[in-house]
Amino acid sequence: MSVQTQIRKLLRQYPEPTSAVLPALRLTQEEHGGWLPPEALREVADALDLTPAYCLSIASFYDQFHLEPVGRTIVEVCTNVSCALSGAQQVVEAFERELGVRAGSTSEDGAFTLGTVECLGGCGWATVVAIDNRHRLRVQAEDVPGIVEELRDA
Protein backbone atom coordinates (compact mmCIF):
# COMPACT_ATOMS: atom_id res chain seq x y z
CA MET A 1 0.00 0.00 0.00
CA SER A 2 1.45 3.38 -0.96
CA VAL A 3 1.99 6.00 1.70
CA GLN A 4 -0.66 8.19 0.11
CA THR A 5 -3.19 5.36 0.35
CA GLN A 6 -2.24 4.69 3.94
CA ILE A 7 -2.63 8.36 4.80
CA ARG A 8 -6.08 8.42 3.17
CA LYS A 9 -7.01 5.44 5.34
CA LEU A 10 -5.76 7.28 8.42
CA LEU A 11 -7.99 10.23 7.62
CA ARG A 12 -11.09 8.16 8.22
CA GLN A 13 -10.19 7.92 11.93
CA TYR A 14 -10.47 11.64 12.53
CA PRO A 15 -13.25 14.21 12.29
CA GLU A 16 -10.69 16.73 11.01
CA PRO A 17 -7.88 15.88 8.57
CA THR A 18 -5.18 17.89 10.38
CA SER A 19 -5.36 15.36 13.22
CA ALA A 20 -3.69 12.86 10.92
CA VAL A 21 -0.49 14.91 10.67
CA LEU A 22 1.47 12.99 13.35
CA PRO A 23 0.68 9.50 12.05
CA ALA A 24 1.21 10.72 8.46
CA LEU A 25 4.63 12.14 9.33
CA ARG A 26 5.50 8.90 11.13
CA LEU A 27 4.58 6.77 8.09
CA THR A 28 6.36 9.06 5.68
CA GLN A 29 9.49 9.18 7.81
CA GLU A 30 9.66 5.38 7.82
CA GLU A 31 9.31 5.44 4.04
CA HIS A 32 12.23 7.89 3.71
CA GLY A 33 14.81 5.94 5.68
CA GLY A 34 14.06 7.37 9.09
CA TRP A 35 14.09 11.09 8.41
CA LEU A 36 11.99 13.77 6.74
CA PRO A 37 13.66 15.41 3.75
CA PRO A 38 11.83 18.42 2.21
CA GLU A 39 10.07 16.21 -0.37
CA ALA A 40 8.65 14.06 2.44
CA LEU A 41 7.14 17.13 4.08
CA ARG A 42 5.61 18.07 0.74
CA GLU A 43 4.07 14.61 0.37
CA VAL A 44 2.41 14.88 3.78
CA ALA A 45 1.30 18.42 3.03
CA ASP A 46 -0.28 17.36 -0.27
CA ALA A 47 -2.06 14.40 1.29
CA LEU A 48 -3.56 16.48 4.10
CA ASP A 49 -4.11 19.74 2.24
CA LEU A 50 -1.59 21.55 4.43
CA THR A 51 1.54 23.51 3.53
CA PRO A 52 5.06 22.03 3.75
CA ALA A 53 5.92 24.86 6.17
CA TYR A 54 3.10 23.79 8.45
CA CYS A 55 4.33 20.19 8.37
CA LEU A 56 7.84 21.41 9.18
CA SER A 57 6.51 23.35 12.16
CA ILE A 58 5.01 20.12 13.47
CA ALA A 59 7.98 17.89 12.68
CA SER A 60 10.39 20.29 14.38
CA PHE A 61 8.37 20.25 17.61
CA TYR A 62 8.44 16.50 18.27
CA ASP A 63 11.63 14.64 19.20
CA GLN A 64 10.80 11.51 17.23
CA PHE A 65 10.88 13.30 13.89
CA HIS A 66 14.27 13.81 12.28
CA LEU A 67 15.00 16.63 9.90
CA GLU A 68 18.48 15.39 9.06
CA PRO A 69 19.60 11.96 7.85
CA VAL A 70 20.03 9.35 10.57
CA GLY A 71 21.89 6.07 10.75
CA ARG A 72 20.24 2.80 9.71
CA THR A 73 20.07 1.90 13.41
CA ILE A 74 19.29 4.47 16.09
CA VAL A 75 20.62 3.84 19.59
CA GLU A 76 19.21 6.09 22.31
CA VAL A 77 20.28 5.90 25.94
CA CYS A 78 18.05 7.39 28.61
CA THR A 79 20.06 9.63 30.92
CA ASN A 80 17.29 10.99 33.12
CA VAL A 81 17.66 10.77 36.91
CA SER A 82 16.84 7.12 37.63
CA CYS A 83 18.88 5.80 34.71
CA ALA A 84 21.69 8.20 35.61
CA LEU A 85 21.76 6.77 39.14
CA SER A 86 22.05 3.29 37.66
CA GLY A 87 25.07 3.91 35.44
CA ALA A 88 23.58 5.42 32.26
CA GLN A 89 26.66 7.56 31.62
CA GLN A 90 28.88 4.46 31.61
CA VAL A 91 26.43 2.89 29.15
CA VAL A 92 26.65 5.98 26.89
CA GLU A 93 30.45 5.88 26.98
CA ALA A 94 30.50 2.13 26.26
CA PHE A 95 28.35 2.70 23.16
CA GLU A 96 30.62 5.56 22.09
CA ARG A 97 33.63 3.21 22.31
CA GLU A 98 31.99 0.22 20.66
CA LEU A 99 30.33 2.16 17.85
CA GLY A 100 33.18 4.61 17.40
CA VAL A 101 30.80 7.56 17.39
CA ARG A 102 30.12 10.41 19.80
CA ALA A 103 26.67 10.71 21.39
CA GLY A 104 24.70 13.14 19.26
CA SER A 105 26.12 12.01 15.94
CA THR A 106 26.02 9.38 13.19
CA SER A 107 28.82 7.02 12.26
CA GLU A 108 30.63 7.78 8.99
CA ASP A 109 29.36 4.63 7.30
CA GLY A 110 25.80 5.68 8.14
CA ALA A 111 25.20 2.51 10.16
CA PHE A 112 24.49 4.03 13.57
CA THR A 113 23.15 7.17 15.17
CA LEU A 114 23.90 7.37 18.89
CA GLY A 115 22.22 9.75 21.28
CA THR A 116 20.99 10.33 24.79
CA VAL A 117 17.27 10.86 25.37
CA GLU A 118 14.99 12.08 28.10
CA CYS A 119 13.02 9.70 30.33
CA LEU A 120 11.72 6.71 28.36
CA GLY A 121 9.38 5.62 31.16
CA GLY A 122 11.43 2.65 32.31
CA CYS A 123 12.98 4.08 35.50
CA GLY A 124 12.50 0.84 37.43
CA TRP A 125 14.36 -1.12 34.78
CA ALA A 126 17.32 1.24 34.38
CA THR A 127 19.29 1.80 32.26
CA VAL A 128 16.84 1.84 29.38
CA VAL A 129 18.25 1.84 25.84
CA ALA A 130 15.96 2.27 22.84
CA ILE A 131 17.25 0.58 19.70
CA ASP A 132 15.05 1.64 16.78
CA ASN A 133 12.39 2.41 19.40
CA ARG A 134 12.53 -1.08 20.94
CA HIS A 135 13.43 -0.82 24.60
CA ARG A 136 16.22 -2.88 26.16
CA LEU A 137 15.93 -2.87 29.92
CA ARG A 138 18.49 -3.03 32.74
CA VAL A 139 21.39 -2.41 30.35
CA GLN A 140 24.78 -2.08 32.00
CA ALA A 141 28.06 -0.94 30.44
CA GLU A 142 29.37 -4.52 30.31
CA ASP A 143 26.35 -5.57 28.20
CA VAL A 144 27.15 -3.05 25.47
CA PRO A 145 29.82 -4.96 23.48
CA GLY A 146 27.42 -7.91 23.13
CA ILE A 147 24.55 -5.65 22.03
CA VAL A 148 26.72 -3.91 19.43
CA GLU A 149 27.98 -7.25 18.10
CA GLU A 150 24.38 -8.41 17.76
CA LEU A 151 23.45 -5.21 15.92
CA ARG A 152 26.39 -5.45 13.55
CA ASP A 153 25.51 -9.06 12.73
CA ALA A 154 21.86 -8.28 12.09
Partner: protein, 441 residues
Amino acid sequence: MPERPEIVFAGTDGGALTRIEDYEAADGFAPLRRARAMAPDDVIAELEASGLRGRGGAFFPTGRKWAFVPKPDQLAKPHYLVVNADESEPGTFKDREIMLRVPFRLLEGCLIAAHAIQSKHVFIYIRGEYEREFEVLRDSLEAIRRADLLGGVTVVLHRGAGAYICGEETALLESLEGRRGQPRTKPPFPAIAGLYAAPTAVNNVESITTVTSVLELGASEYAKLGVESSTGTRVFSLSGDVANPGNYELPHGITLRELIYDVGGGVPGGRELKAIIPGGSSTSVLTAVEIDTRLDFTSLVRAGSSIGSAGVIVLDDRCCMVQLGIRVSQFYEHESCGKCTPCRVGTRWLTQILQKIEEGRASQPDLDLLLSVCDRILGKCLCPLGDSDAIAVLSYVDRFRDEFQAHIDLGRCPFGGESSLEGILAPSAMHGRHGHEVVSA
Protein backbone atom coordinates in the same frame (compact mmCIF):
# COMPACT_ATOMS: atom_id res chain seq x y z
CA MET B 1 5.09 -6.22 55.05
CA PRO B 2 2.07 -4.03 54.18
CA GLU B 3 -1.05 -5.61 52.73
CA ARG B 4 -1.11 -5.61 48.95
CA PRO B 5 -4.67 -5.75 47.60
CA GLU B 6 -4.70 -6.05 43.81
CA ILE B 7 -7.29 -3.84 42.17
CA VAL B 8 -5.71 -2.50 38.99
CA PHE B 9 -3.75 -5.72 38.48
CA ALA B 10 -6.47 -8.04 39.83
CA GLY B 11 -6.45 -11.51 38.33
CA THR B 12 -3.04 -11.21 36.71
CA ASP B 13 -1.24 -13.41 39.22
CA GLY B 14 1.95 -11.54 38.45
CA GLY B 15 1.52 -12.04 34.69
CA ALA B 16 -0.55 -10.39 31.98
CA LEU B 17 -4.18 -10.74 30.92
CA THR B 18 -3.66 -10.13 27.23
CA ARG B 19 -6.01 -12.80 25.85
CA ILE B 20 -9.66 -11.81 25.85
CA GLU B 21 -10.72 -15.33 26.97
CA ASP B 22 -8.50 -15.08 30.04
CA TYR B 23 -9.81 -11.65 30.86
CA GLU B 24 -13.41 -12.81 30.52
CA ALA B 25 -12.66 -15.82 32.72
CA ALA B 26 -11.48 -13.34 35.38
CA ASP B 27 -14.96 -11.72 35.29
CA GLY B 28 -13.93 -9.23 32.66
CA PHE B 29 -16.66 -7.13 31.02
CA ALA B 30 -19.12 -7.75 33.86
CA PRO B 31 -18.46 -4.16 35.09
CA LEU B 32 -19.23 -2.87 31.57
CA ARG B 33 -22.53 -4.76 31.49
CA ARG B 34 -23.34 -3.39 34.93
CA ALA B 35 -22.53 0.17 33.86
CA ARG B 36 -24.54 -0.04 30.64
CA ALA B 37 -27.55 -1.21 32.65
CA MET B 38 -27.26 1.98 34.73
CA ALA B 39 -28.24 5.52 33.78
CA PRO B 40 -25.11 7.56 32.85
CA ASP B 41 -25.61 9.86 35.83
CA ASP B 42 -25.75 6.89 38.16
CA VAL B 43 -22.36 5.74 36.89
CA ILE B 44 -20.98 9.22 37.60
CA ALA B 45 -22.55 9.13 41.08
CA GLU B 46 -20.92 5.75 41.69
CA LEU B 47 -17.53 7.17 40.78
CA GLU B 48 -18.06 10.20 43.01
CA ALA B 49 -18.99 7.91 45.89
CA SER B 50 -15.85 5.82 45.35
CA GLY B 51 -13.61 8.83 46.00
CA LEU B 52 -11.50 7.94 42.95
CA ARG B 53 -9.20 10.81 42.05
CA GLY B 54 -7.02 11.27 38.98
CA ARG B 55 -3.85 9.23 38.87
CA GLY B 56 -2.00 11.38 36.34
CA GLY B 57 -0.75 13.90 38.86
CA ALA B 58 -3.47 16.46 39.52
CA PHE B 59 -5.59 14.15 41.72
CA PHE B 60 -8.86 15.69 40.53
CA PRO B 61 -11.97 13.66 41.45
CA THR B 62 -12.82 11.52 38.42
CA GLY B 63 -16.60 11.53 38.93
CA ARG B 64 -16.69 15.29 39.37
CA LYS B 65 -14.66 15.78 36.18
CA TRP B 66 -17.26 13.76 34.29
CA ALA B 67 -20.10 15.67 35.94
CA PHE B 68 -18.69 18.88 34.41
CA VAL B 69 -19.24 17.51 30.91
CA PRO B 70 -22.54 18.99 29.66
CA LYS B 71 -25.33 16.57 28.78
CA PRO B 72 -25.92 16.07 25.04
CA ASP B 73 -29.23 17.98 25.27
CA GLN B 74 -27.39 20.92 26.85
CA LEU B 75 -24.69 21.08 24.20
CA ALA B 76 -25.44 19.46 20.87
CA LYS B 77 -21.89 18.60 19.83
CA PRO B 78 -20.10 15.25 19.74
CA HIS B 79 -18.71 14.36 23.17
CA TYR B 80 -15.20 12.96 23.49
CA LEU B 81 -13.32 10.82 25.94
CA VAL B 82 -9.57 11.25 25.64
CA VAL B 83 -7.29 8.91 27.57
CA ASN B 84 -3.94 10.34 28.48
CA ALA B 85 -1.43 7.55 27.87
CA ASP B 86 1.43 9.98 27.30
CA GLU B 87 3.25 8.90 30.44
CA SER B 88 6.56 10.77 30.61
CA GLU B 89 7.09 12.28 34.05
CA PRO B 90 10.57 11.17 35.11
CA GLY B 91 10.26 8.47 37.76
CA THR B 92 6.91 7.26 36.44
CA PHE B 93 6.47 4.00 34.52
CA LYS B 94 3.18 2.58 35.81
CA ASP B 95 0.87 3.28 32.86
CA ARG B 96 2.98 1.25 30.48
CA GLU B 97 2.83 -1.75 32.81
CA ILE B 98 -0.95 -1.32 33.07
CA MET B 99 -1.24 -1.23 29.27
CA LEU B 100 0.94 -4.33 28.94
CA ARG B 101 -0.66 -6.40 31.68
CA VAL B 102 -4.33 -5.37 31.85
CA PRO B 103 -5.12 -3.80 28.45
CA PHE B 104 -8.71 -5.07 28.50
CA ARG B 105 -9.38 -3.51 31.89
CA LEU B 106 -8.22 -0.17 30.48
CA LEU B 107 -10.32 -0.52 27.33
CA GLU B 108 -13.32 -1.67 29.36
CA GLY B 109 -12.87 1.44 31.52
CA CYS B 110 -12.91 3.55 28.35
CA LEU B 111 -16.27 2.09 27.36
CA ILE B 112 -17.69 2.61 30.86
CA ALA B 113 -16.48 6.22 30.88
CA ALA B 114 -17.88 6.78 27.39
CA HIS B 115 -21.26 5.56 28.65
CA ALA B 116 -21.07 7.87 31.67
CA ILE B 117 -20.37 11.03 29.65
CA GLN B 118 -22.56 9.84 26.76
CA SER B 119 -19.75 9.80 24.25
CA LYS B 120 -19.37 7.67 21.15
CA HIS B 121 -15.78 8.70 20.45
CA VAL B 122 -12.74 7.65 22.43
CA PHE B 123 -9.17 8.65 21.63
CA ILE B 124 -6.25 7.08 23.46
CA TYR B 125 -3.22 9.34 23.10
CA ILE B 126 -0.28 7.01 23.64
CA ARG B 127 3.30 8.10 24.02
CA GLY B 128 5.18 7.69 20.73
CA GLU B 129 8.05 5.84 22.40
CA TYR B 130 5.72 3.14 23.71
CA GLU B 131 5.95 0.71 20.81
CA ARG B 132 5.01 -2.58 22.45
CA GLU B 133 2.30 -0.96 24.55
CA PHE B 134 0.76 0.39 21.35
CA GLU B 135 0.81 -3.06 19.76
CA VAL B 136 -0.79 -4.71 22.80
CA LEU B 137 -3.55 -2.09 22.91
CA ARG B 138 -4.11 -2.36 19.15
CA ASP B 139 -4.48 -6.16 19.35
CA SER B 140 -6.70 -5.96 22.44
CA LEU B 141 -8.91 -3.36 20.80
CA GLU B 142 -9.27 -5.61 17.76
CA ALA B 143 -10.31 -8.50 20.04
CA ILE B 144 -12.94 -6.29 21.70
CA ARG B 145 -14.22 -5.23 18.29
CA ARG B 146 -14.51 -8.87 17.20
CA ALA B 147 -16.30 -9.74 20.45
CA ASP B 148 -18.83 -7.03 19.56
CA LEU B 149 -18.41 -5.20 22.84
CA LEU B 150 -17.86 -1.68 21.51
CA GLY B 151 -21.56 -0.84 21.55
CA GLY B 152 -21.28 1.72 18.76
CA VAL B 153 -18.29 3.49 20.31
CA THR B 154 -15.19 4.09 18.18
CA VAL B 155 -11.84 3.87 19.92
CA VAL B 156 -8.84 5.37 18.11
CA LEU B 157 -5.26 4.82 19.22
CA HIS B 158 -3.33 7.99 18.47
CA ARG B 159 0.43 7.91 18.83
CA GLY B 160 2.42 10.88 20.08
CA ALA B 161 5.84 11.65 18.68
CA GLY B 162 8.09 12.57 21.58
CA ALA B 163 7.06 15.60 23.63
CA TYR B 164 6.67 15.52 27.42
CA ILE B 165 4.44 18.58 27.30
CA CYS B 166 1.70 16.58 25.57
CA GLY B 167 1.00 14.96 28.94
CA GLU B 168 -0.56 18.31 29.89
CA GLU B 169 -4.19 17.88 28.93
CA THR B 170 -4.67 20.95 26.74
CA ALA B 171 -1.33 20.43 24.99
CA LEU B 172 -2.43 16.87 24.38
CA LEU B 173 -5.63 18.09 22.77
CA GLU B 174 -3.70 20.52 20.58
CA SER B 175 -1.42 17.68 19.52
CA LEU B 176 -4.37 15.42 18.81
CA GLU B 177 -5.80 18.15 16.59
CA GLY B 178 -2.56 18.11 14.61
CA ARG B 179 -0.80 21.12 16.06
CA ARG B 180 2.35 21.72 18.08
CA GLY B 181 1.75 20.55 21.63
CA GLN B 182 1.38 23.92 23.28
CA PRO B 183 -1.00 24.33 26.22
CA ARG B 184 -4.16 26.37 25.90
CA THR B 185 -5.39 29.07 28.21
CA LYS B 186 -7.93 27.79 30.73
CA PRO B 187 -10.84 28.45 30.99
CA PRO B 188 -12.57 27.18 28.98
CA PHE B 189 -11.83 23.78 30.46
CA PRO B 190 -11.83 20.68 28.25
CA ALA B 191 -15.12 19.52 29.79
CA ILE B 192 -16.80 22.44 27.98
CA ALA B 193 -14.49 23.12 25.03
CA GLY B 194 -11.94 20.36 24.62
CA LEU B 195 -11.17 18.31 21.52
CA TYR B 196 -12.42 20.15 18.39
CA ALA B 197 -13.93 22.68 20.84
CA ALA B 198 -16.42 20.03 21.99
CA PRO B 199 -17.11 18.65 25.48
CA THR B 200 -14.23 16.35 26.44
CA ALA B 201 -13.19 14.32 29.46
CA VAL B 202 -9.45 13.73 29.68
CA ASN B 203 -8.40 10.95 32.05
CA ASN B 204 -5.18 9.13 32.85
CA VAL B 205 -4.64 5.43 32.03
CA GLU B 206 -4.57 4.28 35.65
CA SER B 207 -7.69 6.33 36.48
CA ILE B 208 -9.66 4.80 33.63
CA THR B 209 -8.44 1.30 34.45
CA THR B 210 -9.52 1.81 38.06
CA VAL B 211 -12.97 2.89 36.86
CA THR B 212 -13.52 -0.72 35.78
CA SER B 213 -12.53 -1.93 39.25
CA VAL B 214 -14.86 0.56 40.95
CA LEU B 215 -17.77 -0.75 38.88
CA GLU B 216 -16.75 -4.30 39.72
CA LEU B 217 -16.35 -3.83 43.47
CA GLY B 218 -18.94 -1.12 44.00
CA ALA B 219 -18.09 2.32 45.31
CA SER B 220 -18.38 1.51 49.00
CA GLU B 221 -16.09 -1.52 48.85
CA TYR B 222 -13.54 0.42 46.83
CA ALA B 223 -13.64 3.35 49.23
CA LYS B 224 -12.72 1.06 52.12
CA LEU B 225 -9.24 0.77 50.64
CA GLY B 226 -6.67 3.46 51.28
CA VAL B 227 -7.35 6.46 53.50
CA GLU B 228 -10.08 9.07 53.67
CA SER B 229 -8.60 11.73 51.40
CA SER B 230 -7.13 9.16 49.05
CA THR B 231 -9.22 6.07 48.57
CA GLY B 232 -8.14 2.91 46.83
CA THR B 233 -4.82 1.61 45.69
CA ARG B 234 -2.09 3.28 43.73
CA VAL B 235 0.48 1.81 41.40
CA PHE B 236 3.68 3.26 42.83
CA SER B 237 6.69 3.38 40.53
CA LEU B 238 9.80 2.85 42.63
CA SER B 239 13.22 3.61 41.18
CA GLY B 240 16.67 5.02 41.87
CA ASP B 241 18.93 3.79 44.66
CA VAL B 242 16.73 0.98 45.88
CA ALA B 243 17.29 -2.79 45.93
CA ASN B 244 14.09 -3.85 44.16
CA PRO B 245 12.84 -1.14 41.83
CA GLY B 246 9.56 -1.69 39.99
CA ASN B 247 5.85 -0.99 40.06
CA TYR B 248 3.98 -1.91 43.22
CA GLU B 249 0.24 -1.63 43.70
CA LEU B 250 -0.39 -0.68 47.31
CA PRO B 251 -3.13 1.13 49.23
CA HIS B 252 -2.80 4.89 49.59
CA GLY B 253 -1.57 5.81 53.05
CA ILE B 254 1.32 3.38 53.36
CA THR B 255 4.51 5.08 54.48
CA LEU B 256 7.61 5.76 52.43
CA ARG B 257 9.42 3.47 54.85
CA GLU B 258 7.08 0.58 54.04
CA LEU B 259 7.42 1.18 50.30
CA ILE B 260 11.18 1.66 50.21
CA TYR B 261 12.30 -0.81 52.89
CA ASP B 262 9.58 -3.46 53.35
CA VAL B 263 8.57 -3.72 49.70
CA GLY B 264 11.57 -2.26 47.88
CA GLY B 265 14.30 -3.94 49.93
CA GLY B 266 15.91 -0.69 51.09
CA VAL B 267 18.98 1.18 49.88
CA PRO B 268 21.57 -1.22 48.47
CA GLY B 269 25.31 -1.39 49.00
CA GLY B 270 25.18 -0.31 52.65
CA ARG B 271 24.61 3.29 51.55
CA GLU B 272 22.58 5.76 53.54
CA LEU B 273 19.25 7.13 52.40
CA LYS B 274 19.61 10.81 51.60
CA ALA B 275 16.42 12.01 49.93
CA ILE B 276 13.22 10.88 48.29
CA ILE B 277 11.34 12.38 45.36
CA PRO B 278 7.81 11.17 46.12
CA GLY B 279 5.68 11.86 43.04
CA GLY B 280 7.76 12.24 39.90
CA SER B 281 10.58 14.72 39.29
CA SER B 282 8.26 17.72 39.44
CA THR B 283 7.50 17.22 43.14
CA SER B 284 9.39 18.65 46.12
CA VAL B 285 12.10 16.43 47.52
CA LEU B 286 11.84 14.98 51.03
CA THR B 287 14.78 14.17 53.31
CA ALA B 288 15.63 10.88 55.00
CA VAL B 289 14.09 12.03 58.30
CA GLU B 290 10.72 12.27 56.52
CA ILE B 291 10.74 8.54 55.78
CA ASP B 292 7.58 7.95 57.84
CA THR B 293 5.52 10.29 55.66
CA ARG B 294 2.40 8.57 54.36
CA LEU B 295 1.84 8.30 50.64
CA ASP B 296 -1.52 9.94 50.26
CA PHE B 297 -2.67 13.31 49.00
CA THR B 298 -3.12 15.06 52.36
CA SER B 299 -0.01 13.69 54.07
CA LEU B 300 2.24 14.77 51.23
CA VAL B 301 0.71 18.23 51.03
CA ARG B 302 1.35 18.56 54.78
CA ALA B 303 4.96 17.53 54.17
CA GLY B 304 5.25 20.35 51.63
CA SER B 305 5.26 18.06 48.61
CA SER B 306 2.76 16.23 46.43
CA ILE B 307 1.79 12.68 45.54
CA GLY B 308 1.98 13.69 41.87
CA SER B 309 2.18 10.65 39.61
CA ALA B 310 3.37 8.42 42.50
CA GLY B 311 6.78 7.97 40.91
CA VAL B 312 9.08 7.53 43.90
CA ILE B 313 12.79 8.11 43.26
CA VAL B 314 15.19 7.09 46.02
CA LEU B 315 18.50 8.93 46.37
CA ASP B 316 21.38 7.70 48.48
CA ASP B 317 24.18 9.71 50.06
CA ARG B 318 26.30 9.77 46.89
CA CYS B 319 23.90 12.15 45.13
CA CYS B 320 24.95 15.80 44.79
CA MET B 321 21.81 17.89 45.06
CA VAL B 322 23.19 20.61 42.78
CA GLN B 323 23.82 18.02 40.07
CA LEU B 324 20.32 16.66 40.64
CA GLY B 325 19.01 20.20 40.15
CA ILE B 326 20.95 20.54 36.90
CA ARG B 327 19.72 17.24 35.48
CA VAL B 328 16.09 17.88 36.45
CA SER B 329 16.28 21.43 35.12
CA GLN B 330 17.84 20.28 31.85
CA PHE B 331 14.85 18.03 31.40
CA TYR B 332 12.28 20.79 31.86
CA GLU B 333 14.33 23.18 29.74
CA HIS B 334 14.40 20.58 26.96
CA GLU B 335 10.68 19.91 27.24
CA SER B 336 9.45 23.50 27.55
CA CYS B 337 7.14 24.17 24.61
CA GLY B 338 8.37 27.74 24.37
CA LYS B 339 4.99 29.41 24.61
CA CYS B 340 5.45 31.27 27.91
CA THR B 341 8.55 33.35 28.49
CA PRO B 342 9.01 32.58 32.23
CA CYS B 343 9.17 28.87 31.43
CA ARG B 344 11.13 29.05 28.17
CA VAL B 345 13.77 31.40 29.53
CA GLY B 346 13.49 30.61 33.23
CA THR B 347 14.20 26.88 32.95
CA ARG B 348 17.31 27.73 30.96
CA TRP B 349 18.48 30.23 33.55
CA LEU B 350 17.96 27.69 36.31
CA THR B 351 20.14 25.15 34.50
CA GLN B 352 22.88 27.68 33.86
CA ILE B 353 22.96 29.14 37.36
CA LEU B 354 23.06 25.64 38.83
CA GLN B 355 25.92 24.74 36.49
CA LYS B 356 27.78 27.82 37.66
CA ILE B 357 27.31 26.71 41.28
CA GLU B 358 28.37 23.14 40.48
CA GLU B 359 31.50 24.30 38.67
CA GLY B 360 32.55 26.49 41.58
CA ARG B 361 32.17 29.74 39.65
CA ALA B 362 29.29 31.07 41.71
CA SER B 363 29.24 33.68 44.44
CA GLN B 364 26.54 34.40 47.03
CA PRO B 365 24.35 36.57 44.75
CA ASP B 366 24.03 33.64 42.33
CA LEU B 367 22.14 31.64 44.94
CA ASP B 368 19.82 34.60 45.47
CA LEU B 369 19.43 34.89 41.71
CA LEU B 370 18.53 31.18 41.49
CA LEU B 371 15.74 31.67 44.04
CA SER B 372 14.63 34.87 42.35
CA VAL B 373 14.32 33.12 38.97
CA CYS B 374 12.23 30.37 40.63
CA ASP B 375 9.98 33.06 42.02
CA ARG B 376 9.64 34.65 38.59
CA ILE B 377 8.50 31.32 37.10
CA LEU B 378 6.10 30.15 39.81
CA GLY B 379 2.48 30.84 39.00
CA LYS B 380 3.37 32.87 35.91
CA CYS B 381 2.97 30.25 33.18
CA LEU B 382 0.00 28.80 31.32
CA CYS B 383 0.71 25.25 32.43
CA PRO B 384 2.58 23.51 35.26
CA LEU B 385 5.79 22.71 33.33
CA GLY B 386 7.79 25.77 34.38
CA ASP B 387 6.45 25.50 37.91
CA SER B 388 7.62 21.89 38.04
CA ASP B 389 11.22 22.92 37.52
CA ALA B 390 11.00 25.79 39.98
CA ILE B 391 9.28 23.68 42.66
CA ALA B 392 11.89 20.93 42.35
CA VAL B 393 14.89 23.28 42.43
CA LEU B 394 13.47 25.37 45.28
CA SER B 395 12.95 22.24 47.35
CA TYR B 396 16.55 21.11 46.82
CA VAL B 397 17.83 24.49 48.02
CA ASP B 398 15.33 24.59 50.87
CA ARG B 399 16.18 21.16 52.25
CA PHE B 400 19.88 20.97 51.36
CA ARG B 401 20.95 24.59 51.63
CA ASP B 402 24.21 23.68 53.35
CA GLU B 403 25.21 21.64 50.34
CA PHE B 404 24.56 24.54 47.96
CA GLN B 405 26.45 26.85 50.31
CA ALA B 406 29.39 24.43 50.43
CA HIS B 407 29.72 24.59 46.64
CA ILE B 408 30.00 28.36 46.85
CA ASP B 409 32.30 28.44 49.89
CA LEU B 410 34.66 25.74 48.59
CA GLY B 411 34.57 26.97 45.02
CA ARG B 412 34.01 23.38 43.84
CA CYS B 413 31.66 20.44 44.23
CA PRO B 414 32.17 18.90 47.67
CA PHE B 415 31.64 15.45 46.16
CA GLY B 416 34.93 15.85 44.28
CA GLY B 417 33.83 13.97 41.19
CA GLU B 418 32.30 11.09 43.16
CA SER B 419 28.61 12.04 42.97
CA SER B 420 26.31 9.37 41.55
CA LEU B 421 25.15 11.86 38.90
CA GLU B 422 28.67 13.00 37.93
CA GLY B 423 29.15 13.79 34.25
CA ILE B 424 25.74 12.66 33.07
CA LEU B 425 25.07 13.74 29.48
CA ALA B 426 21.62 15.26 29.02
CA PRO B 427 20.14 15.48 25.51
CA SER B 428 20.05 19.28 25.75
CA ALA B 429 23.80 19.34 26.41
CA MET B 430 24.48 16.83 23.63
CA HIS B 431 22.87 18.89 20.93
CA GLY B 432 25.10 21.83 21.65
CA ARG B 433 24.24 25.23 22.96
CA HIS B 434 22.26 27.69 20.96
CA GLY B 435 20.71 31.02 21.76
CA HIS B 436 21.98 33.33 24.46
CA GLU B 437 23.97 32.31 27.50
CA VAL B 438 23.45 33.81 30.93
CA VAL B 439 25.88 36.68 31.28
CA SER B 440 28.23 35.89 34.12
CA ALA B 441 27.98 38.22 37.07
